[in-house]
Symmetry: C2
Subunit: 203 residues, 2 copies
DNA sequence: CTGAAAGTTTGCAGATCCTGAAATTTCTTC
DNA sequence: GAAGAAATTTCAGGATCTGCAAACTTTCAG
């Protein structure tokens, strides 16, 4: 990636990003229309007017084009978490970080709703959706371990708190996809329940 | 499935179960030896001396043979949960149910450790591992919804508590795979932390 | 402007995955 | 045993995905 002083990309990299985005868009819309099995990689490549070999230069599989996973986002989550002031409890820090992420997702509402719709209609994709979090988990758990220091009483805590936090986020997203409202509110609500120890809701 | 009065299976069904188990075993050991990419479906079928088409009669994909997922287990989890006495809080009921499940897993320690080793060495399988829980989630969430009744304050609670509980179980399993000890203890510990609202561990 | 370096796209060959359909074998039941 | 049900096999074929080398585009230095 070549970046000039003002943060602009060169033509080459702009084209790359555009191709990638176009492939994602095409994959999402086509699969939304015809279902996962009704769309071949060739169809997607065709729609963007590149060879199917090129598709595989960008995504390792058809499913991956639908995920919208972005290594840059992961890295940013890690950095945000690491940047939280020392006194803040881990769960609280995660809540803040993921609320910011929720705002971002909300910013691409259209695309995410389409994506979630595709996931609903093609349950075989759910694994990948969950795994998207899973990849991030290791890295985030390492940040938490760093943060709380290394002592026996904390064994397993980093993995657990990260896994639970991402789970809360995911559940909030699925809720958000089937009802109107602010994703951030749903995320916040989920964290509140987790922080309270998930007591039975009182009618 | 034909079951005679004493709960025994006929020859046909015994063979089916045996074939299925043999395919799982072969898949696990071969992949543990050579890695996921180093083993073809044909290799697995060959090792069990069936045609590769038969493999696909049992498992929809190579990965699925490694999962050890069992619809019967899911059903049992749902029933156990539904059978918990009315007064018990949901999280507590889940703890009990999953502790029992932990004992069961511990009973197949060898196979599960091999399986988890395979997962570690082939991260592309992690999605499926997570998804195994995901399939169960819907059903379990429905049981929880039934249990707590339907009121606005509880929106999203069933999905959240189930997702978190299964996450806790999964984290405990991963910990268990890399250290000796009782899985049940690790599960219990994880639930205790969740019930306490995941406070920072005190050094 | 020009040519070389670097990076991207493409076509192609080929292994593997997975599915449908029909033929064959194995098991159950009468 | 013979009929029928169920499982397995064989076969054909479409789709996924990878490696490789050729062709093309962009970048950049001179």
């Amino acid at each position: 990636m070549i970046v000039d002083s003002s943060g602009e990309l060169g033509r080459r990299d702009r084209k790359k990003l555009e191709t990638r985005a176009a492939l994602e868009r095409a994959a999402l819309t086509l699969v939304a229309e015809r279902g996962l099995a009704g769309v071949t990689v060739e169809d997607i490549a065709e729609a963007v007017d590149v060879s199917s070999r090129t598709f595989f230069n960008y995504f390792p599989s058809k499913e991956d084009a639908l995920l919208g996973s972005d290594p840059a986002v992961e890295a940013e989550l890690r950095e945000s978490l690491a940047a939280a002031p020392p006194g803040v409890p881990v769960l609280q820090a995660l809540r803040t970080v993921l609320l910011a992420e929720a705002e971002r997702v909300q910013g691409h509402r259209e695309q995410w709703l389409l994506r979630l719709k595709v996931f609903e209609q093609n349950p075989s994709l759910l694994p990948r959706l969950l795994a998207m979090g899973a990849e991030a988990e290791r890295g985030l758990a390492a940040v938490v371990a760093e943060r709380i220091g290394d002592h026996p009483a904390a064994a397993g805590y980093p993995e657990l708190v990260i896994a639970v936090a991402l789970t809360a986020f995911r559940v909030a997203m699925l809720r958000w996809s089937s009802a109107d409202g602010e994703l951030a509110d749903l995320v916040d609500e989920a964290f509140a329940q987790v922080a309270a120890g998930l007591p039975d809701p009182t009618p």
